[in-house]
Symmetry: C2
Subunit: 241 residues, 2 copies
DNA sequence: GCAATAGTGTCTATGAGACAGTATAGC
DNA sequence: GCTATACTGTCTCATAGACACTATTGC
């Protein structure tokens, strides 16, 4: 077997960028990190990194999640601190020839769904930003808590747009809203997650019926406490199904 | 701006592989090419190629479609010989560290939907093969016209499995079946496409209602000829919608 | 009792499947 | 007339939205 002649072709660098999504205050938010290098010095950007030798794409994404987002992970099986895995899925691969001004860099984008309490608080180097995607737009908009708008490094605003569209589409046939909630949650909380992602109000009775009929929710027999009104039952996601 | 230090990281080669799907004899088929090099010498494989400098991933996929599958294309806008574009979409990126025994090769897979008459006839170097994906399997099976089964090069049987699952999912919320048919077609032909992809019989009246209600079909006022039974009206896909 | 939300029941509209019935081509 | 398929009408069933009604908590 002769060695592969790679000199004839472009030899791009390949990175993995991870869109870490969470829910806070009824809004979809994304974890961004501040760049410490040129180009786009001091711009906010998606956490990412180059692929290492001997590492699969999934493993690289889990490593980025662990090192850059502080989310515990095992090789290939990223886990929440609590124990069960963080939702992590490949999104799309971005490879416009000039998306990085330094060199040819192809980015395999992933997205992760994380419960808000597991994400580090905002700091100088990283933070959660509100994520807004208008219909018909192909770039997402990013705001901090004060409502200030930011431009992102590279084509990361486009990657975010693809991520939001993907999760909206996915939600319409899969109830992945769980992944943004603690292990036990009420149906009201789950409905709020769906409403925040889909950006529209849902019918309460219908939402309950559909969720319970799916067989994916397991009632725990326990209830909320100290709500000031009738407490709702807590459910758990049946991951085996 | 300092140059990117790429020596610290793995520098994989990046290829594009295209799953060209078509419909023949009521079955989903895929275009494969025979390898002329090691590894997997003489094995059938997906048409593919390395990414060139200055070329986007979409453009690379269109080029592979044009050169290796003989399907006319313009930069970024692959077109059928007749005039309207061939459906071409990014599928998934495969990057297991040992998927190519020679070197680290990451493959960005695309899939294309093509009318059967536009695909070259079977030859020594390329041909159409019947494509079968069993439930719960993560590799597809490949058969020639005589029913002989083949093993594919690299992880291409896995790529095909992902492609079949993607098109099945897509069909349930988008009527991409057109893309496998000539410009004008009957509702019976369209239904046959859906049945072949989804691997199940559909209700005729219901299928008609749904398709006509979608507003995506334009009646031409013309009819089939020489069928031996009542001829059906020919429809056209309204691409502007 | 009041406020607020949990959880249920009922009506309606919509859309899919089943199936029968009429229409139209070649023979 | 016969056959095969096109195309339509109707019934039923499942599901979603609308909305009202009862239940349960803290105050």
């Amino acid at each position: 077997m002769e060695p592969l002649d790679t000199a004839l072709y472009d030899r791009p660098s390949v990175t993995v960028d991870v869109v870490v999504l969470t829910l806070r205050g009824g809004c979809l938010e994304v974890l961004l990190v501040r760049r410490k290098e040129h180009p786009f010095l001091n711009y906010w950007s998606l956490p990412g990194g180059f692929i290492w030798k001997g590492e699969s794409l999934d493993e690289a994404a889990a490593r980025v999640l662990r090192h850059k987002a502080g989310l515990e992970a095992e090789a290939g099986r990223t886990r929440r601190p609590g124990g069960h895995p963080i939702y992590l899925e490949q999104l799309y691969t971005f490879g416009s020839p000039n998306r990085d001004p330094r060199a040819r860099v192809i980015s395999v984008a992933y997205y992760a769904l994380v419960e808000q309490s597991h994400v580090r608080e905002i700091s100088e180097e990283s933070g959660l930003f509100r994520l807004l995607l208008k219909d018909e737009e192909n770039v997402a908009e990013i705001y901090d808590a004060k409502g200030k708008k930011y431009s992102l490094a590279f084509d990361h605003a486009e990657i975010l747009a693809v991520a939001v569209r993907r999760i909206r589409g996915k939600l319409s046939y899969t109830p992945i809203g769980f992944e943004l909630l603690p292990e036990r949650f009420t149906l009201r909380e789950l409905q709020a997650v769906h409403e925040a992602i889909l950006q529209k109000k849902l019918n309460k009775a219908s939402f309950r019926r559909k969720m319970l009929a799916s067989g994916l929710l397991q009632p725990t027999g326990e209830f909320e406490r100290g709500t000031g009104f009738r407490p709702a039952e807590l459910y758990r996601f049946r991951r085996e199904a």
